[in-house]
Amino acid sequence: MTDKKCFRLSSLPLRKQGIVASIKAEGFLRGRLLDLGFVPGTVVEPIRRSPLGDPTAYRIRETVIALRSEEGDKILVTLNKKGAMMP
C-alpha cells in the first residue's frame, strides 16, 4: 500500500472495492471509525447510495454501515486490485 494513489472513501464508486489506507480524523471521530472496523488494511465496498447522495452504505467486515460524506471524506482508501483478500 506504499505508493499507490489514495483517495477519499466518499469518492469511491459503487461496487468498487477499496482498502482503507489511513484515517484523517482525530479524536472522537477517529475512535468511532476505528471501532466500526475502518482499520487500515480492511476491504470496504460502497453498496448503496441514498437518493440525495449523502449517506452511503458500505460493506465492511460482514456488516453494512452507513457513513455521511463528511465522515467518508476523512477515510483514505486505495483501489482494491482484484484478487486481494477479503479480510
Binding site: G31, R61, E62, T63
Partner: protein, 284 residues
C-alpha cells in the same frame, strides 16, 4: 395490562407498551436518566447492600441478542427486536443460579467503551464503575471479529468476564465453524457457545457464571500490549497513580484513559474516586 405488577415483580419497563405513561417517559428524558444512573451506581456501591446478592452484567455489541439472553435467563419478557439500539437504558431482572440470587443487568449495546452517546455512557459507566461480580459479553458468532474489539477493552478493566458466543444457530446456517477452545485459550476466559433464541447452551452458561462468581474458575485475560512508547508512559503513570487510584480500578487502565484524553471519561473517574472517599471508602 401490566402483569409483572400483579405479581409484585419489579417490572422491566417495555417501550412498546405504556410508553405514554409519565413514569416511563421520565425514564427516557436525559437529565432524569443520568440521575437515576447515578442513583443506581450508588445503590450498587452502597456498603449496606446485601453482600450475598450478586450482580452480573450483560454487555456486548448492538444487536447480538443480549435482551434475548436476558429474557431466557430471567424469565422476563423484555421487548426484543432485531435492530441495533433497541435497549437504551439498563434493565434489571433476577435469576436463580443454583440457589443463589443473582441480579442480571441488561446493558445497551455498544461498539466500544469510547463513546459519547447517552446509551453508550450508561453501559460504559456501569461496566467501569458499578463493578459487577461478573460481566457476560455477548458476541455475534456470525461476525466475531468486529465484536472482539469490545471484548479486549472490557478485559482491560476486569478479569471477571465470560464470553457468550451467541447466535450459534445463525453461524451454523452460514457454515461457520468457531473453534471455541482455541478462542478460550487465546482470550484466557471461558467461552460458551449459545443460541439464546432456542435456549441452547444456557445451562452451560449458567454454570460458568456460577463458577466465576464463586471463584471456582479464575481467568487469565489476554493483555493487550501497546507500542513501546505508550507502554513506557503507562508504566510511569502507573507508579504515580497507584496511591490515588483505589477502590478496585486498575491503575494501568486509568493511565490508558488519561492517555486517550477523553474528558467525559476522566470526569467520570474523578467523580467515582471522589464519591468513594466521601462515603468513607470502607466498603470491601
Amino acid at each position: 395490562m401490566n402483569f409483572s405488577n400483579l405479581f409484585g415483580i419489579p417490572s422491566a419497563p417495555r417501550r412498546h407498551r405504556g410508553q405514554f405513561s409519565r413514569r416511563n417517559r421520565e425514564r427516557f428524558s436525559l437529565p432524569h436518566l443520568s440521575s437515576s444512573l447515578r442513583a443506581n451506581r450508588k445503590s450498587f456501591l452502597s456498603p449496606t447492600l446485601n453482600s450475598k446478592e450478586y450482580i452480573i452484567a450483560l454487555a456486548g455489541n448492538p444487536n447480538t441478542g443480549k435482551s434475548t439472553l436476558f429474557n431466557a435467563l430471567t424469565g422476563l419478557r423484555q421487548h426484543t427486536g432485531n435492530w441495533p439500539g433497541k435497549t437504551v437504558v439498563q434493565y434489571r431482572g433476577s435469576c436463580n443460579l443454583k440457589g443463589k440470587k443473582v441480579t442480571l443487568v441488561d446493558l445497551p449495546g455498544i461498539y466500544s467503551l469510547l463513546t459519547n452517546t447517552i446509551e453508550g455512557e450508561i453501559a460504559r459507566d456501569f461496566i467501569c464503575f458499578a463493578r459487577p461480580d461478573a460481566i457476560v459479553i455477548v458476541v455475534d458468532s456470525t461476525c466475531l471479529e468486529r465484536n472482539l474489539n469490545l471484548v479486549l477493552q472490557i478485559l482491560e478493566i476486569t478479569p471477571k468476564v465470560i464470553l457468550c458466543a451467541n447466535l450459534m444457530d445463525e453461524a451454523k446456517k452460514k457454515n461457520l465453524h468457531i473453534k471455541i477452545s482455541e478462542l478460550e485459550k487465546k482470550l484466557g476466559i471461558p467461552v460458551i457457545p449459545t443460541a439464546a433464541r432456542s435456549g441452547k447452551g444456557l445451562n452451560k452458561l449458567k454454570s460458568a457464571m456460577d463458577d466465576l462468581i464463586c471463584g471456582r474458575i479464575t481467568t487469565q485475560p489476554y493483555r493487550l500490549h501497546y507500542s513501546a512508547e505508550i507502554e513506557k508512559a503507562i508504566s510511569e503513570m502507573e507508579i504515580e497513580l497507584a496511591p490515588i487510584v483505589t477502590n478496585g480500578l486498575s491503575p494501568r487502565w486509568v493511565a490508558l484513559q488519561l492517555l486517550t484524553g477523553d474528558s467525559t471519561f476522566i470526569n467520570g473517574i474523578e467523580k467515582y474516586l471522589a464519591g468513594k472517599q466521601i462515603d468513607g471508602g470502607d466498603s470491601e
